[in-house]
């Protein structure tokens, strides 16, 4: 019976050259729902504790969503997983585009890369045929050149190419894997892992089809999901203005990270916003991932001025903050150019921007000088400095080589107090969310297994600004009043629900913009689509979320096995210890407080005590030990992760029941 799966997983051992397609154990996959979930299970089984993330014992897994390749709305996503080189812990990164669907059309649901090739190679998967090819001619090429060369070799413009650029080859710890030029598996250094395996690219072409078990029922659920998604007006703003639509709003709220997270505002932020890309004529096309119904992705081009000819996908909201406001500039052409460099060198724009702004602040404070930078003048917003440094980082040259390990390593090497403005936790640079003014996000970022990042647990609902979010918070907590981001109350409950839902979303291959940033595609609809697609009837809302929790616990267990404890669940120093420059919509804060207005200073999470209170509640809710953060045997057992509990127990890493 058709089941939405292609039905096979593909093991490729680059050390031995062995290519081994295997039948997919669908029941086992569905225990973890798919993609991110099954990847986590494979990681647990295949990566020995203590493995060097850049060594041959690490594995790199490309897992397609269980609904990827079907018409389920926004189902184009693929999860790339490995042990993360930036953190030494669990890493998953979700990527859009069409590569994952193509892999399924070619006959495979999962691709598992093991070992390390003796010399640079690339992998070709064409309708079930798999070949490891010499990549000597591709090594050293950037993402654009590599993709183009493979397209030429294939003589087929529909080939989907996932590749690394120079940053991945040079093992920059925030190197990305770029899919078909513009879609980035960006965070945490998956590109460095691919580079460490001497794997330049994976080219995929398939002509197969994905069939679902009960097509009519599936179609009905799909149509309902689409209709529900379009009920939310933000579907329209997403299409019109992309993710950077929200720049001006977030700046108005005083939560748009600028000047290395020192401030939450920058003058003229509108100039690096989605509407400006449209009005100033930079936006040339809107693009959607496979089966997308929103098309938030941008394609921009510069046709005059110093950066004439710069083009590419994005820039996204995160990039506008990371390479723009964070570096002290609202020069949108500079951001488009810097974004292009990151995309062709294959680097995460968030972390790349983070290292540049950390260096700028260090330069401003005199901690580093032109002697350190090799003559680069790192004033805020200096375009030559930003572009020059990105190039140096990708090629691990000059001062850039010092930044290629991310801000944690850079601050450790430079010292002199610079750790205090290294905006990272667990070794990952924080994504561009101001967690001082959104307590649910603060908790979610602190406990995120991959580090402080929003693409694991989106808790937009806590802002209470939209009816769908308020209704959801009421459903989770029993009262709409908790849809307020500046309270500690019920944050644990809100975060855990979103963890479960986000994990299920990733696993099915859907986009979080459909389920936890907008709420049209409910867990109930996800479950109905999954049941109709796979023919497995046991899925309903609760069991789906429960499976999401199983994924989250397995990810947590991976980190625990690597030695992580409660002390690792923290936030960047700056965001815990420094007050955000207050939003100054009117007067100063004292005047606002005297007028009975909220006091922005008191409302910030800036103490260990605040975070600790939320962590206590969160661990208790999960059934993990409060003191150590370790899971309990019963907790894992209840989630049918008994073997995981047993292994942790043998290592002495399980809390007493």
């Amino acid at each position: 019976m058709p089941s939405a799966f292609a039905g096979k997983l593909l093991h490729v051992n680059l050390t031995t050259g062995e290519i081994a397609p295997k039948p997919l154990d669908e029941k086992k996959v569905l225990k973890y729902l798919g993609a991110r979930g099954f990847n986590a299970r494979l990681l647990w089984e295949l990566v020995p504790p203590g493995a060097d993330p850049l060594g041959p014992e690490n594995v790199l897994i490309f897992g397609t969503g269980t609904l990827t390749g079907t018409s389920a709305p926004t189902s184009g996503r693929t999860t790339v997983s490995c042990k993360g080189p930036a953190t030494g812990l669990y890493l998953k990164t979700s990527v859009g585009g069409h590569w994952g669907a193509e892999l399924k059309f070619a006959g495979y649901d999962y691709l598992i890369i093991e070992g390390r090739a003796p010399k640079p190679v690339y992998l070709v998967i064409r309708d079930g045929e798999v070949e490891i090819r010499d990549a000597a001619d591709l090594w050293g090429k950037d993402v654009r050149e590599t993709t183009l060369a493979i397209e030429h070799a294939f003589q087929d413009p529909d080939v989907q190419v996932a590749c690394i650029g120079p940053a991945g080859e040079n093992r920059v710890l925030f190197a990305s894997i770029m899919m078909n030029y513009y879609n980035a598996a960006a965070r945490g250094g998956v590109g460095a892992v691919m580079g460490s395996k001497n794997l330049k690219a994976v080219a995929v072409r398939g002509h197969g089809r994905i069939h679902v078990a009960r097509p009519q029922e599936f179609r009905r659920a799909v149509m309902e999901a689409i209709e529900a998604s379009y009920q939310d007006f933000s579907a329209k703003t997403s299409y019109l203005y992309g993710t950077s639509a929200s720049v001006a709003v977030i700046n108005e709220l005083g939560s748009f990270p600028s000047f290395n997270f020192r401030s939450g505002r920058i003058d003229n932020a509108e100039k690096i916003s989605g509407p400006y890309l449209v009005e100033a004529g930079y936006l040339k096309r809107r693009m959607g991932c496979n089966a997308c119904i929103f098309s938030c992705h941008r394609y921009c081009e510069i046709t005059s001025g110093p950066h004439t000819g710069a083009y590419g996908g994005g820039p996204e909201y995160e990039t506008m903050s990371a390479l723009g406001a964070g570096c002290g500039t609202v020069d949108v052409e500079l951001v488009i150019k810097a974004n292009e460099l990151c995309n062709i060198y294959g680097m995460d724009t968030i972390s790349a921007g983070s290292v540049v702004q950390w260096a700028m602040e260090s330069y401003e404070k005199g901690v580093i000088t032109e002697k350190d930078t090799g003559g680069i003048q790192l004033q805020w917003g200096n375009p030559d400095a930003i572009l020059g440094l990105l190039e140096q980082v990708a090629r691990c040259r000059g001062f850039g080589a010092k930044l290629a390990g991310g801000v944690r390593q850079a601050a450790k090497s430079i010292g002199r107090g610079s750790e205090k403005w290294a905006v990272e936790a667990k070794g990952l640079e924080q994504s561009r969310v101001e967690t001082r003014t959104a307590f649910g996000y603060a908790l979610a970022f602190a406990v995120n297994p991959r580090g402080p990042d929003h693409l694991h647990t989106q808790v937009l609902a806590e802002f209470g600004t939209r009816p769908g979010g308020r209704a959801l918070v009421a459903k989770i907590t029993g009262d709409e009043k908790y849809a307020f981001p500046r309270t500690l109350e019920k944050r644990a409950d809100i975060v855990r629900w979103h963890e479960d839902c986000y994990a299920a979303t990733d696993a099915l291959g859907l986009c979080s913009f459909a389920t936890t940033a907008r709420y049209g595609v409910t867990p109930e609809l996800l479950a109905r689509m999954l049941s109709a697609a796979t023919g497995v009837d046991s899925f309903e809302s609760e069991s789906l979320l429960f499976a999401g929790r199983r994924i989250m616990n397995l990810e947590k267990a991976f980190n625990v096995r690597e030695g992580a404890t409660r002390k690792d669940d923290h936030l960047p120093h700056r965001l815990m210890n420094e007050i955000l420059a207050p939003p100054s919509g009117k007067g100063d804060d004292r005047a606002a407080a005297a007028a009975g207005r909220p006091d922005p200073v008191k409302e910030q999470i800036n103490s260990r005590a605040y975070l600790d209170r939320m962590l206590d509640e969160y661990y208790e809710l999960h059934g993990w030990d409060k003191a150590t953060g370790l899971p309990r045997c019963k907790t894992l057992g209840d989630l049918d992760l008994g073997d995981v509990a047993a292994e942790l127990d043998r290592m002495g890493k399980l809390a007493k029941d």
């Binding site: 007006f233 703003t237 997403s238 709220l253 996204e316 969310v433």
Partner: protein, 99 residues
């Protein structure tokens, strides 16, 4: 704070395009956000209406708009019932999601 019967002046930043249209409005004392929005409903919201043929703010409805009063979403205050004071700044956006 001393109560007066003087009318109040409120600044509106209407983000209907990339750059806000800035409008200064005078309202009676005790005016609330609702009164402010009633006064500006004639303003157009370029390309943002559910009904493209009739792009006025009035068509948008509370659920389609995000109102930020002095850096705070009005939903975190008292919604459309939030009282306004002299010198307040209200920014008006269409709703958005994602990032």
């Amino acid at each position: 704070m001393e109560k007066t019967n003087r009318s109040i002046s409120v600044s509106l930043k209407l983000f209907n395009r990339a750059f806000p249209e800035r409008i200064s409005l005078t309202l009676p004392p005790g005016a609330r956000v609702r009164d402010l929005m009633a006064k500006v409903e004639r303003k157009s919201f370029n390309g943002m209406s559910r009904k493209n043929s009739s792009p006025s703010l009035k068509d948008m409805g509370e659920d389609d708009l995000l109102l930020i009063l002095n850096g705070r979403p009005v939903q975190n205050l008292q919604g459309y019932d939030t009282p306004l004071e002299d010198g307040d700044v209200v920014a008006v956006f269409p709703v958005m999601a994602g990032g």
